[in-house]
């Protein structure tokens, strides 16, 4: 039982990332009808917002101290981040909290990037074949990825979580299991809560605001909403920006779990597509549910007991599920009838 719980928990944080990316993908697909292969790149850009803020905050002033000498006999270098010099302890706290703070940076940047991307590129592809949409966004993803690689290098850049959240908690002990049976890193709990809040916020936004109502109406019948005198294109542009923001903040918060590198976006994108397909193209709830489901499934498949029974299953389980779902229930687990079924 405790092993079971541990695997569920392990799957949840990865599932949270899948769910957030898949949510954005589904939003874009449901509103604009565009298959966005560059969505993973947005996730990656979010992660690199955190990296940029971190390196910005830790810009250091180097002072040579002539009094002290290093082992080589040269004057000792004293490095102090400017921010600590200016603000003292508060500066230290800022550096410590750079990952959550990066959200403040990521939201406007991702919104802007999303809007530019939609207005500048995607807009021209509404009427074209799905193959063309896939290809052009695929090209864009490569471009973004290579620019990031040129800027930040090819190696993963570790990002520490705030020291407050670095430890782990013994969840098992709280629930009455043996000690150290279910130990879970604190930051993953934070990530899980964060994912839940973001997902809830997106749903509430679509459900309870006028803007959300118009968007939902547009998803159902774009033309009629347009005929009612509502500028649906502009709303959809904002939805695209919103999807970019969701992917971006998901990337920011994921950095302490997985050190960001330039190809993380593509790695997640391929899986997120599978998630969308399993959940049902165009179904927001389906995307979220399938995200968590597949995350948990993957973590179960990587248990040693399962692996010894079916070698290699941890590598392929998600794809296998996708294949089975597409063949047995083409519209996905939660898909509406008739949406992109063929």
């Amino acid at each position: 039982m405790d092993a079971f719980l541990l695997q569920v928990l392990n799957g949840l944080d990865k599932g949270g990332a899948y769910a957030l990316i898949a949510l954005g993908l589904t939003l874009v697909f449901g509103t604009l009808g565009v298959v966005n292969f560059a969505h993973g790149a947005l996730f990656m850009l979010g992660a690199f917002c955190a990296v940029s803020l971190q390196s910005l905050l830790t810009l250091e002033r180097v002072v040579l101290d002539p009094e002290k000498l290093t082992a080589w006999g040269t004057p000792m270098e004293i490095r102090t981040p400017y921010i600590v010099e200016w603000f003292g302890d508060f500066g230290m706290t800022l550096i410590d909290w750079s990952v959550p703070l990066a959200i403040l940076l990521a939201v406007p940047i991702m919104l802007l990037l999303g809007v530019i991307m939609e207005r500048g590129l995607i807009r021209h592809f509404y009427k074209r074949l799905h193959a063309d949409q896939i290809l052009v966004t695929f090209g864009l993803a490569i471009v973004v990825q290579e620019i990031v690689k040129a800027q930040f290098g090819a190696n993963p850049i570790p990002q520490p979580a705030p020291s407050m959240f670095t430890g782990s908690v013994d969840i098992g002990l709280m629930l009455g299991f043996a000690e150290n049976a279910v130990v879970y890193p604190l930051w993953r709990i934070v990530y899980l809560l964060f994912a839940g809040v973001v997902i809830a916020a997106v749903f509430a936004f679509l459900q309870y605001t006028t803007f959300g109502m118009v968007v939902r109406a547009g998803m159902a019948d774009r033309e009629t909403v347009g005929l009612l005198g509502i500028d649906i294109d502009r709303r959809f542009t904002i939805v695209f920006g919103l999807a970019a923001v969701v992917a971006g903040v998901a990337g920011v918060m994921y950095t302490p779990i997985l050190s960001p590198d330039y190809h993380m976006g593509m790695d997640f994108l391929v899986l997120s597509f599978v998630v969308v397909v399993v959940g049902g193209m165009g179904s927001l709830g389906g995307a979220v549910a399938a995200g968590f489901l597949l995350g948990i499934l993957q973590s179960f498949a990587s248990m040693n007991e399962v692996k010894s029974l079916l070698p290699g299953i941890d590598q392929v389980v998600i794809y296998l599920v996708a294949v089975v779902v597409l063949l047995v229930r083409p519209r996905g687990l939660f898909g509406r009838k008739g949406v992109m079924e063929s």
Partner: protein, 384 residues
């Protein structure tokens, strides 16, 4: 498309193609491409793209997992070298066969869906093969190291026919003719000509017509009572076999097979080649493959030093600026150029280079003869 001259024009096209392949070393020499390694790559990727075009160009099914078949072909060929013989013919036949069977299995499943689902399914299968090749299948694929020839490999057939084992690793051969250098290129070239000829025949056959009909409207085909699945499956298997052939040739020129050949970036590359040249045209994919491999070769060899020299005529600060901007696109950053090219082609020239050439041709024709031509004639001439 169909008129009485089609046969003749195809013959001319084939003859022209043969001449270009034969004279490629001379043609490519002035632009620094006249050496066998590069030309071999042209031929191999040309075959890969021709095969991909039979699926994507004719039926419109966009596969994002074709590299898996290439990988299967490579592994099969290397295993043939290890177990049977260093002669290339059995290796090629077996690579085609194995890739074909693999494509049949996968195609049977994935072709139940079309459109974006098809793309995602093929991608899923290719990623699955790639992951398996890296992990569980290590006894067959040798994991990250890649499958290599060993000194003490069995090579049963070679033993039977009394081929003497030399010192060191043996090299691939065609009945004693070594497959390195120019003979290697011409071997690949001849195979590409055969592959091209088969693709012409497929394009002009009733089968090819059927595939085009599937592309233009599959529903209508179904309504007329026709089961399209066998046709699309046949196209899928044929293009998988082409990929297997290309993989086998890759193993022949360099007997080493690694899982990275199956990664989805490799699948993306062949998509790009086909689109760059012109989807659904006969020559397009070959041209696309050649252009991409040529520029890959040129661009990745550049470095900042060469760039600095090239821009030395500029004032210094401009020189540095130019070098840092262009440096992004060359050398290590070649993939950036590739991605940008991808976008530019899809946005501005969906018909690929072939369309570009015909557009230029139209402009020139109009400029020569100010009188408006009957459009049909101009269009048919341009589409050739």
């Amino acid at each position: 498309m169909i008129n009485f001259n089609v046969k003749n024009k195809d013959h001319m096209l084939l003859i022209g193609f043969i001449i270009v392949v034969a004279l490629a070393p001379i043609i490519m020499a002035p632009i620094g491409g006249g050496y066998p390694d590069l030309l071999q790559k042209f031929a191999i990727f040309g075959i890969f793209a021709i095969g991909f075009n039979i699926l994507f160009g004719l039926t419109g099914y966009l596969s994002f997992g074709h590299a898996a078949f290439l990988g299967v072909g490579s592994y099969t060929a290397v295993w043939t070298f290890k177990l049977l013989t260093m002669n290339v013919i059995p290796a090629l036949i077996l690579s085609i066969l194995f890739a074909g069977v693999f494509a049949l299995l996968i195609g049977f499943i994935v072709l139940r869906r079309s459109g974006i689902y098809f793309s995602i399914l093929t991608l899923a299968f290719a990623q699955m093969s790639y992951n398996l090749a890296y992990s569980v299948l290590t006894p067959i694929t040798n994991g990250e190291t890649g499958l290599q020839l060993r000194l003490h490999d069995a090579r049963v057939l070679d033993g039977l026919f009394g081929v003497t084992r030399g010192e060191g690793l043996p090299s691939t051969s065609l009945f004693g003719m070594s497959m390195s250098g120019w003979s290697g290129y011409y071997f690949c070239g001849v195979i590409m000509i055969i592959a091209f000829y088969i693709s012409i025949r497929i394009f002009r056959s009733p089968f090819g017509m059927m595939l085009r009909a599937v592309k233009s409207n599959q529903n209508r085909m179904s309504y007329t009572g026709l089961n399209t699945r066998p046709y699309t499956l046949a196209a899928f298997v044929i293009s998988g076999m082409y990929a297997g052939l290309a993989g086998g040739l890759m193993a022949i020129t360099d007997p080493l097979a690694g899982a990275e050949r199956m990664q989805w970036t490799a699948s993306g590359e062949v998509v790009l080649m086909t689109i760059l040249g012109g989807t659904g045209t006969l020559l397009g994919p070959v041209i696309g493959a050649g252009v991409i491999k040529y520029f890959e070769n040129i661009f990745s060899s550049f470095n900042d030093g060469i760039l600095m020299e090239a821009f030395s005529w500029l004032p210094e600060f401009l020189q540095h600026a130019m070098v840092s901007v262009i440096g992004l696109f060359v050398g290590e950053g070649w993939h950036l150029t590739l991605g940008a090219l991808f976008m530019v082609i899809v946005i501005f020239l969906p018909g690929g280079l072939i369309e570009g050439i015909s557009r230029i041709g139209n402009v020139i024709r109009r400029w020569r003869k100010p009188k408006p031509l009957p459009t049909t004639e101009a269009d048919t001439a341009a589409s050739e």
